[in-house]
Subunit: 667 residues, 2 copies
């Protein structure tokens, strides 16, 4: 149980000083950087002071202590609020120098909080609404972990969200999900300041947020965000309710600024030296920039050092469980793959090569998952309401429900973006390896969360099925065309498009091993033959591209293909070889991994001096890197159409006949 600390009245001057320290650091750092957002930290300083000094269970000396409360600044532009708190409470790496270097190259104090830059930053925020949704994932992780490790997981997840967060659609997916699953240890403090960038929020929004959250099954309160007693009471109540909680904190943006408080002018620009001088007077804060008087700093540091009690008590509890349980918890946190993992995948691949199933790769994915989920205890599956299509469920993955979190499957609902952000939260919390499915075309809906998976270097696996016009009749709204390219454009995300059941197993292995890189598995709706008939324990997909089938002659043609189009390449090869035209087939399951190989390997694989033809049922963008300006691309640069899959392949000319014709024309 959390200790709320000494229950002194917080309305005394000590409390005011502590909040003003946040205000001063924030306005000074923004001024020095000549860039940033002072309004929010100044407005929410009182709320944050109450939260951190009275409630938050954290230990600056052990920032990664597993059972800490999570604090997420969803309104990430107010980053100086967080940096101020980290510095004041005594996080070792958040020095005054770092605060002074706010928004400078290499500083831990990036413009928006960046996960991995500074201790105490639980997630990257800035893209609005996503902090809230990621926090929902953390709160879900807490419930799931608590159900597995009774008594040693019991923490809150607190969020500060702004008007922008609550206007974004993702907020709906997040609060609806949290309400449904009744994540009662999630507490959202809404900076209810009536101001957005364009001016008063009444320009664009008039939601009754209290009623809105209640409609989603939340407890909702409203308080004066500058009244510490009221704030304390509200948070105390929120911790006791059996529902997730919203606290609308009525605040004045830029509190303390005589001329700019309560206006959008204080949102995203430095106050200026003159106004800062006036704030110092107004707040009775006569100290130089970046100077926090020792007494006030001590008060804050005491808040920080108190945390050691929490963490050491927790460690004693963990030890008391006994060494076996402790080891199990630590193994679970670490999410390492068991020793037998590689062997099991290799054995499974051997079986596939013998049995040669012609599954759709989504089916191959499910079969691989049966192996994975049987061995890797931390995987948590799910789908955005396409379980039977994505084939993301296996017998091991019993669904989580609002009353039982011991399961390993999440019905995310029709919430692709929410699913991505919640998976980020599951991964960041630690203890789980989340994977989740939807149709490939709806990566567009989930894309902002996928970008954060990549930026935060999280092992989140996106199982994206129905990955081309091969999905057939649902038509162009459901047929991805540009999606492979648009995902390959994104830094630090591996886009896998396996050709058959063996490659699918290999790509799953690679996704699970990529601890600092999210993965997309692009999988077919339609069946495709097994091509890897000769078993090898080596993971050939690990090189990103490899010669799948060599030529019996001098190779004149290299066919590069991915996914279901590798079978088309193999068909074309047969015809060309029969006519004496030496043809190799190179399967390219992952560009990112291929690009990381040595130049020699890459050149050799691409077949120097051969005619290069790439075949992929997607757009051409990017392929010229491999096929050169002389190469031929066979794919689709327009939107698809509604018809049976086979007809579409013919209609759009993605056939072995077209490949053969193109090769002959080039010879």
């Amino acid at each position: 149980m959390n200790d709320t600390g000494a229950q002194k009245s917080p309305s005394d001057s000590k409390y005011t000083d502590m909040a003003n320290a946040i205000r001063a650091l924030s306005m000074d750092a923004v001024q020095r950087a000549n860039s940033g957002h002072p309004g929010m930290p100044m407005g929410m300083a009182d709320v944050a002071t109450v939260l951190f000094s009275k409630f938050l269970k954290f230990d600056p000396a052990k920032p990664d202590w597993p059972d800490r409360d999570r604090f997420v600044l969803s309104a990430g532009h107010g980053s100086m609020l967080l940096y101020s708190l980290l510095y004041l409470t005594g996080y070792k790496d958040m020095t005054l120098e770092e605060v002074k270097n706010f928004r400078q190259l290499g500083a831990k104090t990036a413009g928006h909080p960046e996960y991995g830059h500074a201790d105490g930053v639980e997630t990257t925020t800035g893209p609005l609404g996503q902090g809230l949704a990621t926090a929902v994932g953390m709160a879900l992780a807490e419930k799931m972990q608590a159900s597995r490790f009774n008594g040693i997981v019991d923490h809150f997840t607190y969020v500060i969200a702004g008007d922008g967060c609550l206007m974004e659609g993702i907020s709906h997916e997040a609060i609806s999900f949290a309400g449904h699953f009744n994540l009662n240890k999630l507490i959202v403090l809404w900076d209810d300041n009536d101001i957005s960038i364009d001016g008063k929020t009444e320009l664009a929004v008039s939601d009754n947020q209290i009623k809105r959250f209640e409609a989603m099954g939340w407890d909702a309160q409203s308080v004066d965000g500058h009244d510490p007693v009221a704030i304390e009471k509200a948070i105390a109540r929120a911790r006791e309710t059996n529902k997730p909680s919203l606290i609308a904190c009525k605040t004045t943006i830029g509190f303390g600024s005589p001329n700019k408080a309560g206006t959008s002018g204080v949102h995203g620009a430095p106050l200026g030296d003159d106004e800062i001088a006036l704030v110092r007077k107004e707040l009775n804060w006569p100290y130089e920039p970046f100077v926090i008087p020792e007494k006030i700093l001590d008060q804050w540091r005491t808040v920080g050092t108190k945390g050691a009690r929490h963490s050491s008590e927790w460690e004693r509890n963990l030890d008391a469980l006994g060494s076996e349980a402790k080891a199990a918890f630590e193994r679970s946190l670490n999410c390492s793959l068991p020793a037998e993992f590689e062997e099991a995948i290799a054995a499974y691949k051997k079986r596939l090569s013998e049995e040669a199933p012609g599954w759709a790769t989504r089916k191959s994915s499910q079969e691989a998952l049966k192996v994975v989920n049987g061995i890797v205890e931390n995987t948590v599956g799910g789908s955005a309401d396409l379980t039977g299509s994505n084939l993301t469920m296996t017998e091991q993955t019993v669904p989580v429900t609002p009353t039982d979190f011991s399961g390993r499957y999440v019905h995310y609902g029709v919430r692709e973006f929410g699913m991505g952000a919640i998976m980020n939260g599951l991964a960041l919390h630690k203890g789980f390896i989340p994977y989740g499915g939807t149709f490939m075309v709806f990566t567009d809906y989930a894309r902002p969360a996928m970008r954060l998976s990549a930026l935060m270097e999280q092992r989140v696996i996106y199982v994206m099925t129905h990955d081309s016009i091969g999905l057939g009749e649902d038509g162009p709204t459901h047929q991805p065309v540009e999606h492979l390219a648009s995902l390959r454009a994104m830094p630090n995300i591996n886009v896998f498009r396996p050709a058959d059941a063996v490659e699918t197993a290999e790509c799953w292995e690679l996704s699970l091993k990529a601890r600092k890189t999210p993965s997309v598995l692009s999988l077919s709706r339609q069946g495709t033959p097994l091509l890897r008939l000769d078993h090898t324990a080596e993971n050939l997909s690990a090189k990103g591209a490899y010669e799948l089938s060599s030529s019996a002659h001098d190779a004149k043609v290299t066919l590069l293909a991915t996914g279901t189009e590798v079978a088309i390449a193999m068909d074309a090869q047969k015809v060309l070889e029969a006519e004496g035209i030496g043809t190799r087939v190179v399967s390219v399951p992952c560009w990112e991994l291929f690009d990381a190989q040595s130049p020699d390997y890459r050149e050799e694989t691409l077949g120097p001096g051969t005619i290069k033809i790439a075949i992929e049922a997607g757009c051409s963008l990017g392929w010229h890197k491999y096929i050169g300006t002389d190469g031929v691309f066979i794919g689709i640069d327009s939107f698809g159409a509604s018809a049976p899959a086979e007809e579409l392949y013919k209609h759009f000319g993605i056939t072995s006949e077209a490949v053969v014709a193109a090769a002959k024309e080039k010879l």
Copy 2:
């Protein structure tokens, strides 16, 4: 005013027959296609019958009649509901043959309703939630047009939405916007059937939708969706309220199917011949597949022919306004550019070439907009709460408010996706040319709507500022890197990245002239010099790429660049030329337009035989099409960082020095 038609009790057998005709056609068409979604049309047949026969103002003989009510099937997978209605009410192009060809190549009856395929399809739907949001745009357009043309614009917008639509985040943005702007002629019929693909909706959601919509300022009712009297009463009330309206229609999915009704099994798969036989019995519908008895077809056709009265009455009203007002209305609908448009742009460009401002291209965009908005009366600006950053407002664009729709600017709020979908609705409704702004990085949030702009061939203009690491301190969450490439991957959308104020004016001209293609204007935060110092009336950007600066020597090097990096190329050229290394600079403001030029022009522009160096502060993906495998790309294939812009350009090596060094290394 709408006529609700003869007010016979709809619970008689005539009504039941009419609804069953929809059910039969839907299940038969899905069965024949062996693909599709029978559950929703069968569940919502009663609601649709009441709506179309009692309320909807439409004329199958004049599908594009401007003041028709708009009907949007947001749950687009239930497309057979719409196709059935179009056939039954007598839309000429929706023949029985088309219905039988459901989901076949070239049919008007695509798997999901596709705008432009069949008359009466008001928007493409299928990507969930977007139909609802697009309908909000249509309802906004109605209000705006009505405020401009008093008395001749007065129609409702009806939406059928499913559980999926209401789970998607976009639904929040849409209903919050509609509630704020009090779009009281928007009526949403929610197919409240408790079923989604994974099973019962209770697996993933427990929102109180009535309370949720009320929290957003809507009127909300709940009715038995199989009780025509109740439905009629509810719709009648919804039309009278002074708020947008939700009607939760409690229905049974797959109504009429003895074994599958009320289950997810009927959602997205054919019923099968046996079950269909049972449905025929259950519904007392003994007719052969696709056979609608004459009497019932007549009843439906009578509903359709009644529409002629509405449209001709409306035409009389229009005529009564007088020829001048009528011409103004038709001009407004048509949204053609005035005759003086080209000349004005040319004159403006001339002034720019003389004055040579070093504006950021976002500022250049605003200056161009001052010219555009002064001449083109139909533009409607807006921003997702970044007006002062996107610079999308001009003196001509007074904001629309909940009580005055005569303005030309929309404060969309922090709703990027919603903005995109609402702009689609504005364009589809006709009468407006919408443009809207956010940061380039947040195209990720708006992307699903942008895809529909492209697929539907709508002139929607996305003003995307802060288009590179040049935005500086906000850091990687706000710095687009992969976005140019990911948008270039999308079919039918022009991605413009102008280099200076002149090119920005040209790109605006091209965006406005592209009637069937949406545009993205990728614009800088930071200033950049004017490079087009020699005035030419010709729109050079129209070719997509052109030689901006030739070499004084034999050209050995071609520098290809876009946007703010063209100035870097020009600097590098100076250095190289001074050293006698012949260097050309090619500005590439639009790949899509360049790719549409003749092969000769393209080859000549790219500089055959020269060393090719591309410079763009984004990822390399796609550039090898122009620079070949031997070319050099100078850009950024990782995420950005938080620091002042100039430092970032140095840090990531996007400098003229790097260009010069690369050229020399290659020589």
